[in-house]
């Protein structure tokens, strides 16, 4: 029987990173294949290659026995590859029906689209999937989970040879997960090959026939699910033989004052408001999958977002707007560096001096240049001219420019969202060292991260969040990557009670 997906010896490198190293993967039609691994293990890159979004450096991809020659999404689609992406892409102002049939609208003889036929066809499809949605409803009015189901319906609107599901349960709750599982089984029984990416091992045991584990871009384990167990998979995902690195640090003084505190802050989706205190010199990590509320909590702590309930206090006073927070010494390093943290086309010096870092009403170019030079050296930025546009720097150096901005501003609190995303391994540890230096000087550091090793290397204390609730508080010295993983994916008390 021809394999539905056949990757042979696929490798892919990005500057500074070997994302995939000689990975081979075979998925037979009519089976569910689970793809497992930590964040950054290479799962996303493999999916991007399978779906034509990325071209492999070496290796071949066959879909249903046909080689994928042109590495474009269109070519992959022609061969029958469909993806349910991790992020939702729903046109909010179109109806559910139009969203479901977005890429396969039924046409009349005149090549026009009849709204009535779209609704009929979409409703038929939704009913067949067992999704309880009205095709005439406006997609933007649906909940996040319902939108995810609309996307699922779109992914399956046409018969597909291969369906890739990238963390499909991330924004789904109990009932919708049941719907998803039913759809997955329907597709499997109809002969579709499914590649199922998930962090939740119990889903893998419920659905998958086979499992493949990636670690650091290499395929480390492949097994029929029936012949393995939970612990064995975990062991392969996190190589327990390699002890994780914990960076040395000065112990936190017992009398370190609380600098920043969240009091009774309610996060979206959460059941209980939470209290968080950050002390001077402490590195607090917020861990949790996307949508768990870690980024939202960080945004509240930095004054970017006003919490729905409760308040954030800096040194006892209520934190106002982002501007007031920045002036009071709360630095913020957003997750999307290019869009939210940098002025890409402007000079490095200007990027350093935007905000409270640029003191005084006057701008003296020569003095600014000298300040920039000193800041670049203090921040260990590799740049030969602060007058160059910041886009000419590598990702790691760009990130250091953002840090240096807050160093110049002499912040008391630094809130970072995914500080090492898109930064290569060597630069990562430089950044960690820099953060620990800051903490040693008494700056309170809050890090949101989905990289468990990063958290274990850095944090004095870890808060694990899930669906807007605090599920665990772990001492940094006791935290391990697999322990955090287990906390994040274990059923919550609400789920256990139900």
């Amino acid at each position: 029987m021809t394999a539905a997906i056949e990757c042979a010896g696929v490798s892919k490198g990005f500057p500074g990173v070997r994302a995939l190293d000689d990975v081979s993967l075979t998925v037979r039609p009519g089976t569910v294949h689970a793809l497992l691994g930590e964040n950054g293990a290479g799962k996303s890159t493999l999916i991007r290659i399978l779906t034509g979004a990325e071209r492999p450096d070496t290796g071949t991809v066959h879909i249903g026995g046909v080689p994928l020659r042109q590495h474009t999404p269109a070519a992959a689609r022609r061969l029958g590859v469909r993806v349910l992406p991790q992020e939702r892409h729903v046109a909010p102002d179109l109806s559910v029906g139009h969203n479901v049939l977005l890429d396969s609208l039924p046409r009349t003889a005149l090549r026009t689209v009849s709204a009535r036929r779209v609704q009929e066809r979409a409703q038929q499809h939704l009913d067949a999937l067992g999704v309880d949605l009205d095709a005439r409803a406006r997609a933007g009015d649906l909940t996040a989970a319902q939108q995810q189901l609309v996307e699922l319906a779109r992914t399956t609107a046409r018969p597909a040879a291969v369906v890739v599901l990238d963390e499909p349960t991330a924004s789904l709750a109990g009932d919708e997960v049941t719907v998803l599982f039913r759809v997955v089984r329907q597709l499997r029984d109809a002969g579709t090959a499914l590649l199922y990416i998930s962090h939740h091992l119990h889903e893998v045991f419920a659905l998958a026939d086979e499992a493949t584990v990636l670690r650091n871009g290499r395929l480390v384990h492949r097994t029929p699910v029936a012949e393995t167990d939970h612990d064995s998979l975990l062991r392969h995902i996190f190589d327990r033989d390699v002890a994780h690195v914990r960076l040395p640090r000065r112990p936190l003084p017992a009398d370190a004052p609380v600098v920043l505190a969240a009091r009774q802050v309610a996060l979206p989706g959460g059941h209980r408001p939470l209290d968080v205190e950050v002390r001077a010199g402490e590195v607090l990590a917020l861990s949790g999958p996307a949508g768990a509320g870690a980024s939202e909590l960080a945004a509240c702590l930095a004054g970017v977002r006003t919490p729905a309930g409760g308040r954030v206090e800096l040194g006892g006073a209520r934190l106002g707007s982002r501007t007031a927070a920045a002036r009071a010494g709360v630095g913020f390093v957003p997750a999307d560096r290019k869009r939210d943290a940098l002025l890409l086309e402007r000079a490095i010096a200007e990027n350093l001096l935007v905000g409270p870092a640029g003191r005084g009403a006057l701008h003296r170019p020569v003095a600014a240049r000298r300040t920039a030079w000193a800041a670049l050296r203090a921040g260990r930025v590799k740049a030969d001219d602060p007058g160059r546009p910041v886009r000419t720097l590598s990702g790691g150096n760009q990130q250091r420019v953002v840090f240096s901005r807050w160093l110049l501003a002499e912040c008391r609190v630094l809130v970072l969202d995914q500080p090492t995303a898109g930064v290569d391994v060597g630069a990562k540890f430089d950044i960690y060292a820099q953060l620990l230096d800051l903490a040693a000087e008494g700056v309170a550091v809050v890090v949101v991260s989905s990289d468990y090793e990063e958290i274990c290397a850095l944090a004095d204390r870890v808060l694990v969040l899930r669906d807007g609730d605090l599920v665990a508080e772990v001492d940094g010295a006791a935290a391990t990557p697999d322990g955090l993983f287990a906390l994040e994916t274990a059923p919550t008390p609400e789920e256990t009670a139900a």
């Binding site: 920045a326 913020f332 939210d340 890409l344 086309e345 240049r369 590799k382 007058g387």
Partner: protein, 372 residues
């Protein structure tokens, strides 16, 4: 690349070199700032264009490059230039105001009426600038806090003010006896008053843009509003300030217009907004924000002024004038776009150092040959 040269710190092939040694990084590198070279790329062609047009016209008609005529040209673009100064700031901040031309007409009419009612110079100036501040505050507050696109909002303002001016003036120019006579026809420091007002405005706003934190924040805002906000800049307040400054300058332009014409002409500013944007864009400002310089914008004004005057001197029929200035604008933006596309395609291989490295590779071989 014929000969493999020794490792060069600025060689683009090895971009991730080690940090410069402390000894070297202590002194500032002896070269032009990157942003300065980038600005020169737009400024130089404009300066050359102005010079070439002037010299050619002067060769045909020697009266062109006389002090009197140069001052004449500058007086004619005085109002345009004052408006461009404000609009440049707005464009760099990622905003736009289309209502400036109509505001000039409105302010000219209102001032003329106030003079007719017997108000003093000071009172009229205060009232006129007050109108500017009020209008700018409205635009700024609506854009900043309601996120209304400024293009549409000020397009509405353009019509409203144009109409108000016509209504107030009863459809015909309001004569002014001697109000602000010195602004229109006086001479200060031996230079005609409108020229002094123009140069003064460009200088003050240029300093504001390039040598104050306000100006740098404006560049940041136009480059990325999200970044600027997250860095802790009060973005909304800054937008309000930009619109207020711009409308106040437009009102000031309205006073100069009234003084120069010695009447409140309700059609005096019609179409001026487009010339203003044309001049700023010609000078390197981008409608998408974050780009532009005051020198560039001033040269943009000068190009439009020189070309218009030259066509008159060369006795080209007036009907052709807009054709030529429009053509220059189209040419300028297309050439800039082509250059930008090229620069974007070559990204990662910065052209400046590559060229320098190439020159350096040539130099030793040349010296070697001369030595040998």
């Amino acid at each position: 690349m014929s000969t493999p040269t020794t490792t060069d710190a600025t060689n683009p092939a090895a971009p991730d070199v080690e940090a410069p040694p402390a000894a070297r990084s202590d002194r500032l590198p002896y070269r032009l700032q990157f942003s300065t070279t980038a600005a020169l790329r737009t400024v130089l062609p404009l300066a050359i264009a102005v010079l070439a047009v002037s010299v050619y016209t002067d060769s045909q008609n020697p009266a062109f490059l006389t002090s009197g005529n140069v001052q004449n040209i500058l007086s004619q673009v005085a109002v345009l230039g004052i408006l461009v100064a404000g609009q440049t700031l707005l464009l760099i901040g990622g905003q736009i105001d289309l209502s400036v031309g109509s505001l000039v007409s409105l302010v000219a009419v209102v001032s003329a009426k106030l003079f007719a009612a017997g108000w003093s110079d000071t009172a009229v100036i205060a009232a006129a600038l007050g109108i500017g501040v009020a209008v700018g505050l409205v635009w700024g507050l609506v854009v900043a806090f309601l996120d209304v696109p400024p293009f549409i909002l000020t397009l509405g303002g353009l019509s409203v003010f144009a109409s108000l001016a016509l209504v107030l003036a009863d459809n015909k120019p309001v004569p002014v006896a001697d109000g602000l006579d010195s602004w229109g026809f006086g001479e200060w420091f031996g230079v005609r008053a409108p020229v002094v007002l123009l140069l003064g405005t460009l200088l003050v706003v240029g300093v504001l843009l390039h040598l104050t934190r306000f100006g740098r924040t404006t560049y940041a805002l136009g480059s990325s509003r999200a970044t600027t906000y997250l860095a802790g800049v009060p973005v909304r307040r800054h937008i309000v300030a930009l619109f207020t400054l711009n409308s106040t300058l437009a009102a000031f332009g309205g006073l100069v217009m009234m003084a120069r014409l010695a009447s409140g002409d309700p059609r005096a500013g019609a179409g001026l907004e487009l010339a203003v944007i044309a001049a700023a864009v010609l000078g390197g400002a981008a409608l998408s924000g974050g780009r532009g310089t005051m020198v560039g914008s001033a040269l943009g004004v000068l190009v439009l002024g020189t070309v218009t005057a030259a066509l008159t001197f060369l006795q080209v029929p007036g009907a052709y004038q807009s054709l030529v200035s429009g053509g220059i604008l189209i040419l300028a933006v297309v050439v800039t776009a082509v250059a930008d596309t090229r620069a974007a395609r070559g990204r990662g291989v910065p052209t400046g150092p590559a060229a320098r490295a190439a020159v350096r590779r040539l130099l030793p071989s040349a010296t070697r040959r001369s030595a040998g």
